[in-house]
Amino acid sequence: MNGVLLAMQGAVSQGVLWGIMVLGVYITYKILDIADLTVDGSFALGGCVCAILVVEKGTDPLLALVIATAAGMAAGAVTGLLHTLFDIPAILAGILTQIGLWSVNLRIMGKSNIPLLKVDTIFSRIVDMLGVKQSAVSLVIGILIAVLIIVFLYWLFGTEIGSALRATGNNEDMIRALGVNTKISKLLALTISNGLVGLSGGLVCQSQKYADIGMGTGAIVIGLAAIVIGEVLMGKLKAFGSKLSSAVTGCVVYFLIRAIVLQMGMDANDMKLLSAVIVALALCIPVAVGKWRIWKSYSEEGPTC
C-alpha cells in the first residue's frame, strides 16, 4: 500500500513538472490554433542541454534551466521562421524541426543518455538544505514554478501584445487589418511556447536525474491529452487563469492514470498506445455525442411544445 502511495506522489510531482510543458502546448494549440510538433524535440532539447551543462560543464543547475529555456525558444523560433517566412504549414514546419532536433540532441549529449547521479540539481540542493524527501521537494518546486508561469502568462496575454496574439489565433484577417504583423505574432507565440517546453524538459531531467534522447517522444500527445482531460474535468471554468490551471491539472491527472495503470501491471511500452487512446477518445466522444443528440432529436411530427 505504501508503494502505491509513493507512486502516486511521484506521479503528481511528475505531472506538475510536465505540466509546464503543457502550458507551452496550450499557447500554440489553444491560443494560436496551431498543432506544433516541435514540442517532442524541444522537450528533449531542454533535457539534453540541461544534463550536459550540469554534468560536463559544471554549470549551476538553475542557470542550466535558464539555458534550457533559451534552447527551447531557439527551437520554437526555427519552426516559427519556417512557418512564417516560407509559408510551410505549421505541422510540417514542426515535424522538420523535431526530426532535426533528434540529431542535434544526440550531438549535444554525445551519447543517447546522461545520468545526473553525482551532481547537484535544484531539487537535491533543497533536499540537502532542508533534509526533506526528494519527491516532496519536486512537488513543491514544480507547483511554485507552475504558478509563477501561470501568473506570467495571465499577465502576458492581458497586455496589448498578448491581446494581439490571442486575436491572431482567433481571426488573422481581422488583426492584420488592425495593423498587427501576424507573422511576428506566430513567431513570438511559438518561441514562448517552446521556451516553456524546454524549461519543462530541463526540470524533468533534473528531477528524474537523467536525460535521454527519447525523453521527448510523444510529449505533444501528453500535452494534448492533458489539455483535453483538463477541459473535461474543469471545462466549466471560463477565466483564462483557471483554464491554464486546468491544463496543468489535466497533466497531473494524466500521470496519475498512468501510474495506476502501471501499478496494475501494464507494460510500460503500452503507455504510448494508452496515451493515444485517451486523446482519441477525449476528442471523439464530444463529437459522437453531439451527432447522436441531433440524430435522436429528429421526429417526423412537429415539435411537441
Binding site: L156, G158, T159, E160, I161, G162, S163, A164, R166, A167, G169, N170, N171, D173, M174, I175, R176, A177, L178, G179, V180, N181, T182
Partner: protein
Amino acid sequence: MLTVNQVYKTFNKGTINEKKALCGLSLHLNPGEFVTVIGGNGAGKSTLLNMIAGVYPIDNGWIKIDGVNISRQPEHCRAKYIGRVFQDPMRGTAAGMEIEENLALAYRRGKRRTLRWGVTKKERALYEEKLKILNLGLENRMSSKVGLLSGGQRQALTLLMATLIEPKLLLLDEHTAALDPKTARTVLDLTEKMIVENNLTALMVTHNMKDAIRLGNRLIMMHEGRIIYDVSGEEKKQLHVSDLMAKFEEASGGEFANDRMILS
C-alpha cells in the same frame, strides 16, 4: 488623399485560369469623398479594395495615401491609414474575444503594441459611449464574447471598430451583402451617419444600385478591371437605376446585368 495610378493586377498569370482583375486602373479621391463602387461580378471591385488594403501585391502601378507611396507596404503597415469592413461579418471581429477586447484591438490600429494592459479602465468609458451610438444595447454587454452576437450586430461593431480611430480612408467591401434587408438597412444608415458626421473619405462597394445612387457624393462603375463611369455632384443626384442599367449594358456590349443587381 488617395491616388491609384495605372494599377494592374492579374491572377494566375500564365495559366489557363488567368484573370486580368485590374487593367491600368487610375482613381483619385479627394478628402471627404464618399464613393460608391458598382459593377458586375468579376469587374474588379473587391480586387481594387484589396489592392488598396494590401491583401495582395499589385503587379504594376502605384498607390499613394496623402502623398505616401504604399504600393509595396505590407497589409499590416497600411492599417494605420485604412479602416476596413468586410463582406463576411465573421471576418471583421474576433469571435472568441469580448466586445471590449475587440474594440481595444481596434483602438490600437496602426500603433505599436506594448506590454501595457490590453484594455484600460479609461477606454472602457469611451467604448461604452461609442457603443451607445449603435443603439443595439451592446454597451450593456461589453464583456460578452463577440461570437454570441448576430451577423448584423457584428457588422455594426466592425464598422465602429474601423472608425474608432479616424481612418484616412474607409474601405467597405459589400459589407451589408450578407445581412437580411432590414439589418442591411440599419447598418447602411449607420455607415452613412458615421461617414457624414466625421467627414470620412470612403470607398463602398455595393451590388445595390439604389444604395449606390442614394448614398455618397460620387459613384464609379467598374467593368473588366477598369472604371467605365465616374459621376459626382448634381449629376449623381439626378441618376436613376435605369441610367446605370443603360451604362452597364453599353459597357458590357448588350449583355444584361445579373439578377442580383436588378432584384436588389
